[in-house]
Protein backbone atom coordinates (compact mmCIF):
# COMPACT_ATOMS: atom_id res chain seq x y z
CA UNK A 1 0.00 0.00 0.00
CA UNK A 2 2.70 2.52 1.02
CA UNK A 3 4.96 1.29 -1.80
CA UNK A 4 2.34 2.14 -4.42
CA UNK A 5 1.99 5.63 -2.94
CA UNK A 6 5.77 5.87 -3.01
CA UNK A 7 5.74 4.87 -6.67
CA UNK A 8 3.11 7.54 -7.40
CA UNK A 9 5.00 10.20 -5.54
CA UNK A 10 8.28 9.33 -7.24
CA UNK A 11 6.60 9.31 -10.66
CA UNK A 12 5.09 12.74 -10.13
CA UNK A 13 8.39 14.02 -8.74
CA UNK A 14 10.39 12.81 -11.74
CA UNK A 15 7.85 14.20 -14.22
CA UNK A 16 8.03 17.60 -12.56
CA UNK A 17 11.83 17.53 -12.52
CA UNK A 18 11.95 16.60 -16.21
CA UNK A 19 10.03 19.78 -17.06
CA UNK A 20 13.34 21.61 -16.55
CA UNK A 21 14.48 20.15 -19.85
CA UNK A 22 12.09 22.44 -21.73
CA UNK A 23 14.05 25.45 -20.46
CA UNK A 24 17.22 24.36 -22.29
CA UNK A 25 15.72 24.57 -25.76
CA UNK A 26 14.51 28.14 -25.45
CA UNK A 27 17.78 29.35 -23.91
CA UNK A 28 19.83 27.96 -26.82
CA UNK A 29 17.55 29.54 -29.44
CA UNK A 30 17.53 32.90 -27.70
CA UNK A 31 21.30 33.52 -27.88
CA UNK A 32 21.48 37.02 -29.35
CA UNK A 33 23.23 37.01 -32.68
CA UNK A 34 23.34 39.37 -35.64
CA UNK A 35 20.34 37.70 -37.28
CA UNK A 36 18.59 41.04 -37.62
CA UNK A 37 21.59 42.51 -39.41
CA UNK A 38 21.61 39.53 -41.74
CA UNK A 39 17.86 39.83 -42.33
CA UNK A 40 18.15 43.58 -43.07
CA UNK A 41 20.99 42.93 -45.47
CA UNK A 42 23.12 45.40 -43.48
CA UNK A 43 25.75 42.74 -42.89
CA UNK A 44 26.71 43.14 -46.54
CA UNK A 45 28.16 46.59 -45.87
CA UNK A 46 30.51 45.02 -43.33
CA UNK A 47 31.57 42.40 -45.87
CA UNK A 48 32.09 45.01 -48.61
CA UNK A 49 34.14 47.26 -46.33
CA UNK A 50 36.42 44.39 -45.36
CA UNK A 51 36.65 43.30 -49.00
CA UNK A 52 37.74 46.82 -50.00
CA UNK A 53 40.42 46.97 -47.29
CA UNK A 54 41.69 43.51 -48.18
CA UNK A 55 41.78 44.25 -51.93
CA UNK A 56 43.78 47.39 -51.22
CA UNK A 57 46.37 45.46 -49.25
CA UNK A 58 46.66 42.73 -51.89
CA UNK A 59 46.93 45.31 -54.69
CA UNK A 60 49.78 46.97 -52.78
CA UNK A 61 51.55 43.62 -52.39
CA UNK A 62 51.18 42.76 -56.07
CA UNK A 63 52.49 46.19 -56.99
CA UNK A 64 55.56 45.80 -54.76
CA UNK A 65 56.16 42.31 -56.13
CA UNK A 66 56.12 43.58 -59.73
CA UNK A 67 58.41 46.52 -58.91
CA UNK A 68 60.94 44.15 -57.38
CA UNK A 69 60.85 41.81 -60.36
CA UNK A 70 61.55 44.76 -62.64
CA UNK A 71 64.49 45.91 -60.47
CA UNK A 72 65.93 42.41 -60.33
CA UNK A 73 65.79 42.11 -64.12
CA UNK A 74 67.56 45.47 -64.44
CA UNK A 75 70.33 44.44 -62.08
CA UNK A 76 70.91 41.20 -63.92
CA UNK A 77 71.86 43.07 -67.10
Amino acid sequence: MSSSILKLVLTVFFVVVSLNLFAQQTVVEQVPMADQMRADGKIWIVVVVIAVVFSGIIAFLINTDRKLTRLEKQLKK
Binding site: V28, M33, A34, E72
Partner: protein, 220 residues
Protein backbone atom coordinates in the same frame (compact mmCIF):
# COMPACT_ATOMS: atom_id res chain seq x y z
CA UNK B 1 60.80 32.71 -55.01
CA UNK B 2 59.94 33.19 -58.63
CA UNK B 3 56.85 30.97 -58.58
CA UNK B 4 53.59 32.74 -57.84
CA UNK B 5 51.10 29.91 -57.41
CA UNK B 6 51.40 29.87 -53.64
CA UNK B 7 50.71 33.62 -53.46
CA UNK B 8 47.51 33.18 -55.48
CA UNK B 9 46.57 30.23 -53.27
CA UNK B 10 47.13 32.30 -50.14
CA UNK B 11 44.93 35.14 -51.42
CA UNK B 12 42.19 32.70 -52.49
CA UNK B 13 42.23 30.97 -49.12
CA UNK B 14 41.98 34.33 -47.35
CA UNK B 15 39.09 35.48 -49.56
CA UNK B 16 37.32 32.18 -48.83
CA UNK B 17 38.07 32.53 -45.13
CA UNK B 18 36.93 36.15 -44.92
CA UNK B 19 33.76 35.44 -46.90
CA UNK B 20 32.61 32.37 -45.04
CA UNK B 21 34.09 33.65 -41.80
CA UNK B 22 31.81 36.67 -41.84
CA UNK B 23 28.73 35.19 -43.51
CA UNK B 24 28.82 31.50 -42.61
CA UNK B 25 27.07 29.62 -39.82
CA UNK B 26 28.78 29.63 -36.45
CA UNK B 27 27.87 28.00 -33.12
CA UNK B 28 25.54 30.16 -31.08
CA UNK B 29 27.08 30.73 -27.66
CA UNK B 30 26.22 33.17 -24.92
CA UNK B 31 28.84 35.79 -24.05
CA UNK B 32 30.62 35.13 -27.36
CA UNK B 33 27.66 35.83 -29.69
CA UNK B 34 29.02 36.83 -33.12
CA UNK B 35 32.55 37.46 -31.76
CA UNK B 36 33.21 33.72 -32.04
CA UNK B 37 34.13 34.63 -35.63
CA UNK B 38 37.36 36.07 -34.21
CA UNK B 39 38.50 32.45 -34.16
CA UNK B 40 39.21 32.97 -37.86
CA UNK B 41 41.18 36.19 -37.41
CA UNK B 42 42.84 36.20 -33.98
CA UNK B 43 43.86 32.56 -33.49
CA UNK B 44 45.53 32.18 -36.93
CA UNK B 45 47.80 35.13 -36.07
CA UNK B 46 49.38 32.99 -33.37
CA UNK B 47 49.60 29.91 -35.58
CA UNK B 48 51.49 32.09 -38.05
CA UNK B 49 53.73 33.46 -35.28
CA UNK B 50 54.66 29.93 -34.20
CA UNK B 51 55.41 28.82 -37.77
CA UNK B 52 57.54 31.90 -38.46
CA UNK B 53 59.49 31.64 -35.19
CA UNK B 54 60.14 27.95 -35.85
CA UNK B 55 61.34 28.81 -39.37
CA UNK B 56 63.51 31.57 -37.96
CA UNK B 57 65.06 29.21 -35.40
CA UNK B 58 65.76 26.67 -38.14
CA UNK B 59 67.52 29.30 -40.25
CA UNK B 60 69.55 30.32 -37.18
CA UNK B 61 70.67 26.72 -36.73
CA UNK B 62 71.47 26.58 -40.44
CA UNK B 63 73.58 29.72 -40.16
CA UNK B 64 75.60 28.27 -37.28
CA UNK B 65 76.42 25.28 -39.47
CA UNK B 66 76.99 27.08 -42.78
CA UNK B 67 78.25 30.57 -41.81
CA UNK B 68 76.27 31.77 -44.82
CA UNK B 69 74.87 35.24 -44.04
CA UNK B 70 71.86 34.51 -46.26
CA UNK B 71 70.58 32.12 -43.59
CA UNK B 72 70.97 34.79 -40.95
CA UNK B 73 69.06 37.30 -43.09
CA UNK B 74 66.19 34.87 -43.45
CA UNK B 75 66.16 34.28 -39.70
CA UNK B 76 65.79 38.01 -39.08
CA UNK B 77 63.06 38.56 -41.64
CA UNK B 78 60.97 35.67 -40.35
CA UNK B 79 61.35 37.06 -36.84
CA UNK B 80 60.20 40.46 -38.12
CA UNK B 81 57.11 38.88 -39.65
CA UNK B 82 56.47 36.97 -36.43
CA UNK B 83 56.67 40.20 -34.42
CA UNK B 84 54.22 41.97 -36.75
CA UNK B 85 51.75 39.09 -36.60
CA UNK B 86 52.33 38.87 -32.85
CA UNK B 87 51.42 42.51 -32.35
CA UNK B 88 48.32 42.03 -34.48
CA UNK B 89 47.49 38.96 -32.42
CA UNK B 90 47.86 40.93 -29.18
CA UNK B 91 45.73 43.80 -30.49
CA UNK B 92 42.96 41.53 -31.78
CA UNK B 93 43.08 39.43 -28.63
CA UNK B 94 42.82 42.49 -26.43
CA UNK B 95 39.76 43.74 -28.34
CA UNK B 96 38.14 40.33 -28.08
CA UNK B 97 38.98 40.08 -24.39
CA UNK B 98 37.35 43.43 -23.66
CA UNK B 99 33.95 42.24 -24.90
CA UNK B 100 34.09 38.68 -23.60
CA UNK B 101 36.27 38.70 -20.46
CA UNK B 102 35.53 42.29 -19.52
CA UNK B 103 39.16 43.40 -19.41
CA UNK B 104 41.60 44.73 -22.04
CA UNK B 105 44.50 42.74 -20.59
CA UNK B 106 43.58 40.40 -17.71
CA UNK B 107 46.19 38.74 -15.53
CA UNK B 108 46.34 35.46 -17.40
CA UNK B 109 49.21 32.94 -17.87
CA UNK B 110 48.93 32.84 -21.64
CA UNK B 111 48.95 36.63 -21.93
CA UNK B 112 51.93 36.83 -19.59
CA UNK B 113 53.72 34.22 -21.71
CA UNK B 114 52.93 36.18 -24.85
CA UNK B 115 54.29 39.40 -23.29
CA UNK B 116 57.54 37.73 -22.27
CA UNK B 117 57.93 36.14 -25.71
CA UNK B 118 57.38 39.40 -27.56
CA UNK B 119 59.89 41.14 -25.30
CA UNK B 120 62.41 38.34 -25.92
CA UNK B 121 62.15 38.74 -29.67
CA UNK B 122 62.28 42.53 -29.57
CA UNK B 123 65.44 42.07 -27.49
CA UNK B 124 66.74 39.88 -30.34
CA UNK B 125 66.45 42.88 -32.67
CA UNK B 126 68.13 45.16 -30.12
CA UNK B 127 70.93 42.62 -29.68
CA UNK B 128 71.54 42.58 -33.42
CA UNK B 129 71.74 46.34 -33.63
CA UNK B 130 74.54 46.41 -31.05
CA UNK B 131 77.00 44.69 -33.41
CA UNK B 132 78.86 46.16 -36.37
CA UNK B 133 80.58 43.06 -37.71
CA UNK B 134 77.98 41.07 -39.62
CA UNK B 135 79.45 37.62 -38.86
CA UNK B 136 79.59 38.22 -35.11
CA UNK B 137 76.13 39.76 -35.21
CA UNK B 138 74.83 36.71 -37.00
CA UNK B 139 76.51 34.15 -34.74
CA UNK B 140 75.49 35.64 -31.40
CA UNK B 141 71.95 36.46 -32.47
CA UNK B 142 71.57 32.95 -33.91
CA UNK B 143 72.41 31.41 -30.54
CA UNK B 144 70.04 33.84 -28.82
CA UNK B 145 67.28 33.03 -31.31
CA UNK B 146 67.50 29.31 -30.58
CA UNK B 147 67.23 29.87 -26.84
CA UNK B 148 64.39 32.31 -27.33
CA UNK B 149 62.39 29.77 -29.31
CA UNK B 150 63.10 27.09 -26.73
CA UNK B 151 61.55 29.36 -24.12
CA UNK B 152 58.69 30.53 -26.35
CA UNK B 153 57.15 27.09 -26.88
CA UNK B 154 56.68 26.19 -23.19
CA UNK B 155 55.56 29.71 -22.29
CA UNK B 156 52.75 29.78 -24.82
CA UNK B 157 51.71 26.17 -25.17
CA UNK B 158 52.71 24.20 -22.10
CA UNK B 159 52.53 26.47 -19.05
CA UNK B 160 48.99 27.76 -19.73
CA UNK B 161 47.70 24.22 -19.92
CA UNK B 162 49.12 23.35 -16.52
CA UNK B 163 47.21 26.04 -14.67
CA UNK B 164 43.99 28.03 -14.62
CA UNK B 165 43.60 30.36 -17.56
CA UNK B 166 40.83 32.22 -19.33
CA UNK B 167 42.00 30.99 -22.69
CA UNK B 168 39.96 28.19 -24.25
CA UNK B 169 41.83 24.95 -24.74
CA UNK B 170 44.04 25.37 -21.68
CA UNK B 171 43.85 24.61 -18.01
CA UNK B 172 41.04 22.13 -18.38
CA UNK B 173 38.74 24.60 -20.15
CA UNK B 174 36.25 22.74 -22.34
CA UNK B 175 37.19 24.94 -25.16
CA UNK B 176 36.93 25.71 -28.79
CA UNK B 177 38.13 22.20 -29.39
CA UNK B 178 35.31 20.12 -28.12
CA UNK B 179 32.09 21.97 -27.43
CA UNK B 180 32.31 25.12 -29.47
CA UNK B 181 34.11 24.21 -32.64
CA UNK B 182 31.99 22.14 -34.95
CA UNK B 183 32.90 20.90 -38.41
CA UNK B 184 31.48 24.01 -40.06
CA UNK B 185 33.96 26.15 -38.16
CA UNK B 186 36.84 23.78 -38.85
CA UNK B 187 36.11 23.94 -42.59
CA UNK B 188 36.96 27.66 -42.53
CA UNK B 189 39.46 27.65 -39.67
CA UNK B 190 42.13 25.37 -41.12
CA UNK B 191 42.18 26.88 -44.64
CA UNK B 192 42.35 30.43 -43.33
CA UNK B 193 45.35 29.54 -41.15
CA UNK B 194 47.17 28.38 -44.28
CA UNK B 195 46.07 31.57 -46.06
CA UNK B 196 47.48 33.83 -43.35
CA UNK B 197 50.76 31.89 -43.23
CA UNK B 198 51.14 32.12 -47.02
CA UNK B 199 50.46 35.86 -46.86
CA UNK B 200 53.16 36.23 -44.21
CA UNK B 201 55.63 34.22 -46.27
CA UNK B 202 54.87 36.45 -49.29
CA UNK B 203 55.65 39.55 -47.26
CA UNK B 204 58.87 37.95 -45.95
CA UNK B 205 59.91 37.02 -49.50
CA UNK B 206 59.37 40.60 -50.66
CA UNK B 207 61.50 41.96 -47.82
CA UNK B 208 64.23 39.41 -48.59
CA UNK B 209 64.27 40.44 -52.24
CA UNK B 210 64.52 44.11 -51.26
CA UNK B 211 67.54 43.25 -49.09
CA UNK B 212 69.14 41.34 -51.97
CA UNK B 213 68.78 44.33 -54.27
CA UNK B 214 70.12 46.71 -51.62
CA UNK B 215 73.14 44.45 -51.07
CA UNK B 216 73.81 44.26 -54.80
CA UNK B 217 73.57 48.03 -55.16
CA UNK B 218 76.02 48.47 -52.27
CA UNK B 219 78.55 46.23 -53.95
CA UNK B 220 78.38 48.35 -57.13
Amino acid sequence: MRSNWWKVLGVLLLVYGFGFGLMGEVPRRNILNESIRNVYFHVPMWFAVTVFLLTSAIFSIRYLRSNNLQDDTKAVEFTNAALVFGMLGCATGSLWARVTWGDWWPNDPKLNGVTISMLMYFAYLVLRSSFDDSQRKARISAVYNIFAFAIFVPLIYILPRLTDTLHPGNGGNPAFGQYDMDNQVRRVFYPIIIGWILLGVWIVSLRLRIREIEDQLQEN
